[in-house]
Every structure is written in structure tokens, then in C-alpha cells.
């Protein structure tokens, strides 16, 4: 059965008419039209579809779009600071944490949530925080380095401020 839902994605409200059974990832990618969020397994195993809902990381393949009504959804397209790359995005590139890039949007969303909740995570906490995101290319070392560098830089900025 179809219903109309207001989805608020990256600060913009999108009224979408969808079947109630539709998962969030398909609605974001199709009706909302933001394809940065990827679908890799439809099974909550790979994390490519990770988005933030009210700041918390969620596998959007296994979340009904209608459940996201009246919540703040953030996708990878909402991460940049205006026209500037977010430090995490910049560090992923500089450290070499991006190869094919298919896991990258989900990885960025999980890391964003992790750093918001825990600005100075230990290595073990980063590993746990990102363990729901599969990457087949990098072996994770450079992703780990990018997240740790982002946390360190952020702490240095805070200390200077």
C-alpha cells in the first residue's frame, strides 16, 4: 500500500509516495535521488548502505523508509562542510583509505558517528566502531589511519581553540 512520507535528508525535506514495505536505501537512491549511499548485500552484513538517523548509524537496507519520517537522515552527500571536504574525507584520500570507493560512503557515515560520540577513540574503539563496514580493497589499515588522524587533528584544534 502506498503512503506519502516526508523524508528529511541532509537538511532538505522530500515528500515521497512509496509502498510501505520499501526499505530506506532504495527510497534514498531512487525517489530522493541521492546515489552516494550504496547497496552491497541487502542483509545488514556489508555496511555500504550506512546512513545516520538522528546521528546514529543505521543500515538503511534493513530500515523501512516510513520509520524515518520526522527524523534527520544524513547521507554521504551531507558530510561536506559547504564546498570543503570534511577532514575525514580529506584524510581518507591523503592516507590512501579509498580504492574502489564502494564501501567508502558507509565507512564515512560509521566513522562520523563514532567520532561524534567519541572524539578521541582508541585504536580498538575505531576497530569496533567500523567493524560493521566491509572493505574488500584496502585491508583497512589506511582507513584506520585516516580516522585516527582525523581524531588527532580535531583534538589539536580543540586544544588550540
Amino acid at each position: 500500500m502506498s503512503t506519502t512520507v516526508n523524508l528529511r535528508v541532509n537538511g532538505t525535506t522530500y515528500p515521497v509516495t512509496i509502498d510501505e514495505g520499501r526499505n530506506l536505501v532504495s527510497v534514498i537512491r531512487t525517489e530522493v535521488g541521492l546515489t552516494g549511499t550504496k547497496e552491497g548485500c541487502d542483509d545488514c552484513e556489508c555496511g555500504a548502505c550506512m546512513v545516520l538517523i538522528d546521528g546514529r548509524p543505521v543500515n538503511s537496507c534493513s530500515y523501512l523508509a516510513v520509520q524515518a519520517q520526522d527524523r534527520e537522515i544524513t547521507t554521504v552527500e551531507g558530510v561536506m562542510n559547504g564546498s570543503e571536504l570534511h577532514p575525514l574525507q580529506r584524510n581518507l584520500l591523503e592516507e590512501g583509505g579509498v580504492q574502489c570507493g564502494f564501501c567508502t560512503p558507509g565507512m564515512i557515515m560509521s566513522a562520523t558517528a563514532l567520532l561524534a560520540a567519541n572524539p578521541t577513540p582508541s585504536e580498538e574503539e575505531v576497530r569496533i566502531g567500523l567493524s560493521g563496514n566491509l572493505c574488500r580493497c584496502t585491508g583497512y589499515a589506511k582507513i584506520l589511519a585516516a580516522v585516527e588522524r582525523t581524531a588527532t587533528e580535531s583534538a589539536q584544534e580543540m586544544a588550540q581553540a
Partner: protein
């Protein structure tokens, strides 16, 4: 000797697209009027089709086309053996075989139509065991095998699709010289490339021309497949690859582009196919092959291996994809990078009713390396020698002769062994539940034709238009540096135009670790031609001898008179009004080295290796003796891949290859039922390694001048790091258990069982 080239750190050109979500992958594309495609699969491993009725599916509202074998040209295809068709014909031979393809208004309607297709069949005996399949009385996977077209050099017999042997010296005489004879049997389960992006294809016709956007690693191969099966000339088929979400060989070959093009032609609408994860597991002809190994080696008390004899059976699956050369390739890997005087290997590529095998990252090598390197440690234990010393004694070195009779030019294998052992702390004390292990591997560089264009437009901005394909490795990104170095410009001065068969000349694709090796050569040649043009223009402008013109820092200078110079952008503006700065390059691939004192049956050119790459991985592991769970703590990787041009990218290849190797060692293996169907075709049951599992990796590159290497002395690197990791883990584990775990993956269950016996 170490070269002085300092690898540059640079950010990959496609990186900003990928971190912002603006980069488009195939499944992100939507065409106006686009239909959704779904396939109906056999879902049975071996059966004769008695009824395939699509009439109800065709009649469903919203269904625009249903195609079967009756609706496409009568073509059998395959690069080595023409043993397959686009759609099942008479007999299905594996569960993922496509019976029919549907295009409908929505994916849900297309799926409902697939479900409405009536498929009735008579079951046929299932061939699931590769050793039994070689028996004279085994049921045949292909009754008509002898009637198929095939490469002349293939040695075929019933279920044996490709037999190869390598013989050097006299193994029986070598065994007679030995003090110990060790025989080992190992079994490697098949596994998967498992790129995170499931494949997707979009096809759209305009008039009699079709454009196909597809997640392939090999666009020119994909085009050739479409042309062959739909009987089209190559200039009416354009393959464009958007960003590719990983491949690891799994997206090599020709997959489904023709099915979707045929649906788009039948419906006169664009059609899009997007695979589910389950389809990604069961359907493509690109599973990593399962294998059985029997290896016997003779060794003297002083540690010298006197002879090696081996028998290998490789699971080909139901159809022969690019696997025809696997038998000879696995023979090289099971002989190993050793200077053994007497070698004989027999290798069979065996049809079964499993999913077809194909080139997954270093095909046959990780499994064969795991077997032969586990066996090598058994030999070292038999003579009471340290694993490192034993390898230094027997492994290849500059000037030594390999198993196929190739005398090796300058190579860095011995340095790799020493460095990996040093980095892991080979002789350090460690707790009783920890151990180190080490293994060596090798991999050829594949010399192949490859082309590129380079142009510089009137504003001085450059473009490299290349047939090369990017699958994440960053190899294409390094091409900018090669062109820039040739022309005294910066990599950022060039944009890359790639992954489009109608824009660029041929390249083999993101396969065989060959992009930099071959396409780098093409780009350098094209850039050299542009450089010649620029020097001529500058010589006229500066009234100097052309031989004195040097291109550096974005300008043409007169050597010895730096004040006399002209910016390249000015020369480009001048050329824009005249001859234009455009050039093409391909270069001449290096030829294969000579082999002496050996003979090969079923020779597909895989025994003579141009610019071979060598590696040694050493690992430190911890074993939980209560559960059999192995944790890999550290990996020290030493690689001779020639000159390293892209430091960040090179480390990324090694780290990624190692983690894939850890997965293959411990958790990744396809489980088949007695019905030859996969039992773990999902990421919940087929476990990839996570960031929480990943070991600390330390990498060292042994950079020595290699004859016949690629640009600036570079060899390949994408596949080599996947070769020796599982073997090193096996040897560490064997040192804790006293003997190796003889089946791959060495899952916790199998480790625990080995501990009980």
C-alpha cells in the same frame, strides 16, 4: 642495488568523487524509460530441460520481454573452449545457469515473471568431486565435449578440459639421491572474489548501435563477448564502465552485457540489471577454483631438494571461462619459485557441476602456494632445518634456473626472504600460544598489447585517453605521473579519459596486474611523441638546437641556458593553430624468456615468465586452543615488484591482498551440498574479514633493476600480495600443532579437529 626513484605520494584523481558520493557506479545510473531486468536461474546443478514455458510470464501486465535461448543467435562461446551459450540449451550444468531473462516495468514485476516461468526437468547425475570426475566411468558434464571448438593447444579428454604438464630433469633419479621422501596431500576449497559492489549492467540502443554501461574489469573483453554472441560488429557496441566497485578478478570476462543488450533491443527501452548479493555468489563464471594437490619431494640431509613430483586437479566448474590456462599456471605454482633440478607436475582442469571458475586475484596461486609452502615446511622439519634457512638454500635467485627451465635475471626473492624474517622477528621469544610462519610466492607479469592517446589542448591542459580500466587499484591513476614526468609537467595537468571502448584504443583491462606494465608503456610512448613535438616547437621559438631542449617545470628550456625558456602552455597555444599536440602509443611488449631443459604439454605460454614478481610473507599468529580460532596478529610482507611508482597505492595493494589472504586462510570457503549447490551464498555465512580482524601489516619493497620490466622498472603488484599469506599462516599454525591443517580454509572447526587427532 637500489634504484634512486622516489615514489611520489599523490591523491588519486577519482578520490573526491568517491568520498563525496558524487561518483557514479553502474547501479546509480537511471535512463529515461528504463526497465528492470531479472534472470530465472536453473537452481539445479545438472538436469535435462524437458519444459521451459514462458508464456504465462510474457502475458503478465508490466512484462515487456522474456528471452530464452530461442530468442538469441545460435552461438557457442568461450575464450578457450566454446562450451557455453547465453541461455541454457537442452541441459543445465550448474545452479546459476540462466534459463530466461525478463524485462519489466519494475524489479518486482520482473521477479514475479521469473517465478511464473514453468521449468520442468529430468535430473542428471551430479558431478561434484573433481577427483571422481576424472575416473573413466564418471558421468560427463558435457556429452558433446569433443565436438566443441577449442584452442588447438588444449589437451582435453572427457571431463578433463585442459591437461598440462611440466617436466625438467629426471624426478626418479632425483628421488634416488634423496635421504628423505615426503608426500603430502592438500585440498583447497573454492572461494569468491566478493567485491562489495554487486555487478550491474545498463543497455540502451540508439538506432543500430548499443551503449552498455557495465561493472566489468575488462571492457574490451565484454565488447568482444557482445559482438560474438549477438553477431554485431565492434563499432556498433560501446562499453562504458562507470566507477567500478571492486573486482578482484570476479568482474573479469564477459557477463550479462549481451543478455541486457538483447532485452533492450527487444523492448526498445533502456534496461538495467542489478545483482543481489546471492546472485553475485552463485551466477558469474568467476569463482576461485577448488583444488586437490598431491606433492612428493625428495630432500637430502643437507637440505637440498633433489626432486619434486606433483599432481593437481583444479575444479573448472560447468563451463570454461578464462580458466583454460589454469592447469599450466597451477603447475608452475605447485613447482614453486625453487631451483629444483628435477621436476614433474601433472595438472588437470576438471569439469564439474559447480559454478564455473575464473581468474580471481592471482588465479590458482594462493591455494597452490598454500599447499606447496606447507609441504616445504614439512620438508624442512624432516631434515631438522629452520624454514628461513631451508628457503634461502632452495629458492630461486639471480642466475638460478626455475622449474620450467627459465634462468632468472636479476630478482629479489632471497632479499624478500631475509627481510620478511627480519621484520617479523623470526627468532624472538614468544608465548606458547603464538607462533611465526613464513612462505614465498611468485607471479608473472603479463606482457600484452595496450594503447593510449595523449593530447595537450591550446590552453596547455592535458588529457590521457586510455583503454586501461580502473577497478580500485589506482594503477590508472599512476599513468598521469608517467605522462607528466615525460613532459616536465605535473600529474594534475592531466585528466584521464578511460573505461570507454569507443574513446580509446585496446587494453586488456584491470586483469593480470598489467595496467602499469603495459598501458604505462603505451602512455610513455604517446607522451614521448608529444615531447618530440614540443621540443621541435621550442627549438624554433628559442632558435636553439632541438637536441638541447629540455622539458621541465612546465616549460621548455635550452640546456645550459635556463634563462632561455618558453612555457609549455605557450607552445600548446601555438600548436593549436597548426599541427595539434596529439599522439598515440602502444609500444612493443617484451617477449617471453627462453626455456631450456624442460618440456611442457598443454603449453599456453604460462611457463616462461616475463619480469616475474616475488614475495615473502611472514606472519605472527595466536591460537586459541579451546576453540581452534586463529588470530593473525602481524604480517611482514617483502615484495619484489620492481620499481614502486605510487607509494600509497602500492602499500594499499599489499595490505588489501594480505587481508584477502587471511580470509582465504581462515574463513572463506564455498560449502557445497551433495547436490553441487552452494550452501553459504551470503555474507552472513561466507565471512569476509572486518577491520576488527585485520592484522598489523609491515611492508618492504625490494627494488632492483629487472630486465624487461614496465615503465621505470615497474612490475605488477595487484595480485602478488594475495599469493603467500594463507601459506604463511599455515606454517605458523603447523609449528604450533606439529603438522599442517590440510584443508583450506583452515577454519576453527578444522583446526580444532586437527588438534584432536
Amino acid at each position: 642495488m637500489t634504484t634512486t626513484t622516489t615514489p611520489r605520494r599523490f591523491v588519486r584523481a577519482d578520490g573526491p568523487d568517491k568520498v563525496t558520493g558524487s561518483g557514479r557506479y553502474t547501479a546509480d545510473l537511471t535512463m529515461t524509460g528504463q526497465l528492470a531486468a531479472k534472470f530465472r536461474y536453473a537452481d539445479v546443478a545438472h538436469a535435462r530441460i524437458t519444459r521451459l514455458d514462458v508464456s504465462a510470464a510474457r502475458a503478465m501486465p508490466g512484462v515487456m520481454a522474456v528471452l530464452t535461448n530461442d530468442d538469441v543467435p545460435d552461438v557457442r562461446f568461450g575464450p578457450f573452449i566454446q562450451d557455453r551459450t547465453l541461455f541454457a540449451r537442452d541441459v543445465v550444468r550448474f545452479e546459476g545457469e540462466v534459463l530466461a531473462a525478463v524485462a519489466a516495468l519494475t524489479p518486482a514485476i520482473a521477479q514475479a515473471a521469473c517465478d511464473a516461468i514453468i521449468f520442468e526437468y529430468e535430473p542428471l547425475p551430479v558431478v561434484g568431486d573433481i577427483e571422481a570426475a576424472l575416473a573413466a566411468d564418471s558421468p560427463l558434464v558435457h556429452d558433446d565435449w569433443s565436438a566443441y571448438g577449442a584452442a588447438d593447444v588444449l589437451v582435453r579428454d572427457r571431463n578433463d578440459a585442459s591437461f598440462a604438464s611440466i617436466t625438467k630433469g629426471d624426478v626418479e633419479a632425483g628421488f634416488a639421491e634423496a635421504d628423505h621422501i615426503v608426500t603430502s596431500r592438500y585440498v583447497a576449497d573454492g572461494c569468491h572474489a566478493a567485491p562489495i559492489e554487486p555487478r550491474a549492467v545498463v543497455a540502451q540502443w540508439e538506432g543500430d548501435k548499443v551503449t552498455i554501461w557495465t561493472s566489468t574489469q575488462v571492457p574490451f573483453d565484454a565488447r568482444a563477448g557482445v559482438c560474438e554472441t549477438l553477431e554485431l560488429p565492434s563499432n556498433r557496441v560501446r562499453i562504458i564502465v562507470p566507477h567500478l566497485g571492486g573486482g578482484f578478478g570476479g568482474k573479469c570476462g564477459f557477463h550479462y552485457e549481451a543478455h541486457i543488450a538483447a532485452l533492450a533491443r527487444a523492448t526498445k527501452r533502456p534496461v538495467r540489471l542489478v545483482f543481489s548479493r546471492r546472485e553475485e555468489f552463485i551466477a558469474p563464471d568467476r569463482r576461485r577454483e577448488g583444488m586437490v594437490f598431491e606433492i612428493t619431494s625428495g630432500v637430502r640431509n643437507d637440505g637440498t631438494i633433489t626432486a619434486r613430483k606433483a599432481w593437481v586437479a583444479v575444479d573448472n566448474g560447468a563451463y570454461t571461462a578464462d580458466s583454460g590456462f589454469f592447469s599450466q599456471l597451477v603447475a608452475m605454482h605447485i613447482a614453486g619459485p625453487y631451483a629444483i633440478a628435477n621436476v614433474h607436475v601433472d595438472a588437470h582442469l576438471v569439469y564439474t557441476n559447480h559454478q564455473p571458475s575464473g581468474s580471481v586475484r592471482a588465479p590458482t596461486a594462493p591455494g597452490a602456494c598454500w599447499a606447496v609452502e606447507s609441504h616445504t615446511d614439512e620438508l624442512a622439519r624432516a631434515v631438522g632445518m629452520d624454514s628461513v634457512d631451508f628457503r634461502h638454500l632452495n629458492a630461486l635467485d639471480t642466475g638460478r634456473v626455475g622449474p620450467s627451465g627459465q634462468t632468472h635475471d636479476e630478482i629479489g626473492l632471497q632479499q624478500c626472504i631475509a627481510k620478511a624474517a627480519e621484520m617479523i622477528g623470526w627468532n624472538d621469544d614468544r608465548p606458547a600460544d603464538e607462533a611465526v610462519g613464513l612462505a614465498i610466492g611468485w607471479w608473472p607479469s603479463f606482457a600484452a598489447p595496450s594503447g593510449a592517446y595523449v593530447k595537450i589542448d591550446g590552453d596547455g591542459a592535458g588529457q590521457i585517453i586510455t583503454g586501461a580500466q580502473e577497478c580500485g587499484t589506482g594503477a590508472v591513476m599512476t599513468l598521469r605521473q608517467l605522462a607528466a614526468d615525460e613532459l616536465g609537467m605535473q600529474p594534475e595537468d592531466f585528466q584521464l579519459i578511460y573505461q570507454d571502448t569507443s574513446a580509446a584504443p585496446y587494453d586488456m583491462g584491470a586483469t593480470g596486474s598489467q595496467t602499469l606494465f603495459n598501458n604505462g608503456r603505451a602512455v610513455v610512448e604517446a607522451a614521448t611523441e608529444i615531447g618530440r613535438q614540443l621540443r621541435n616547437l621550442a627549438a624554433q621559438r628559442l632558435e636553439a638546437n632541438v637536441d638541447d631542449i629540455v622539458l621541465a617545470d612546465g616549460a621548455a628550456h635550452v640546456a645550459g641556458t635556463p634563462a632561455l625558456s618558453v612555457p609549455i602552455a605557450e607552445l600548446a597555444a601555438e600548436a593549436a593553430g597548426g599541427e595539434l599536440l596529439i599522439a598515440h602509443g602502444s609500444g612493443v611488449p617484451p617477449s617471453a624468456p627462453a626455456l631450456e631443459g624442460s618440456s611442457c604439454v598443454g603449453d599456453l605460454g604460462m611457463a616462461a615468465w616475463v619480469a616475474p614478481q616475488f614475495s615473502c610473507h611472514a606472519v605472527r599468529i595466536r591460537l586459541d586452543r579451546d576453540t581452534g580460532v586463529v588470530r593473525v596478529l602481524d604480517v611482514a610482507a617483502a615484495h619484489d615488484s620492481g620499481t614502486i611508482l605510487n607509494e600509497v597505492g602500492a602499500h594499499g595493494q599489499v595490505e588489501g591482498g594480505i587481508l584477502m589472504g587471511v580470509g582465504q586462510a581462515l574463513t572463506e570457503g564455498t560449502v557445497y551440498g551433495a547436490d553441487a549447490r552452494q550452501r553459504n551464498a551470503a555474507l552472513l555465512e561466507y565471512k569476509l574479514q572486518t577491520i576488527a580482524d585485520s592484522p598489523k601489516v609491515t611492508t618492504h619493497f625490494v627494488q632492483i633493476p629487472t630486465p624487461n620490466a614496465g615503465p621505470k622498472g615497474a612490475k605488477g603488484l595487484a595480485e602478488a600480495p594475495n599469493v603467500p599469506t594463507a601459506a604463511a599462516i599455515s606454517n605458523a599454525l603447523a609449528s604450533l600443532l606439529g603438522s599442517p591443517v590440510r584443508q583450506l580454509p583452515m577454519s576453527a572447526e578444522r583446526v580444532w579437529e586437527a588438534m584432536q587427532s
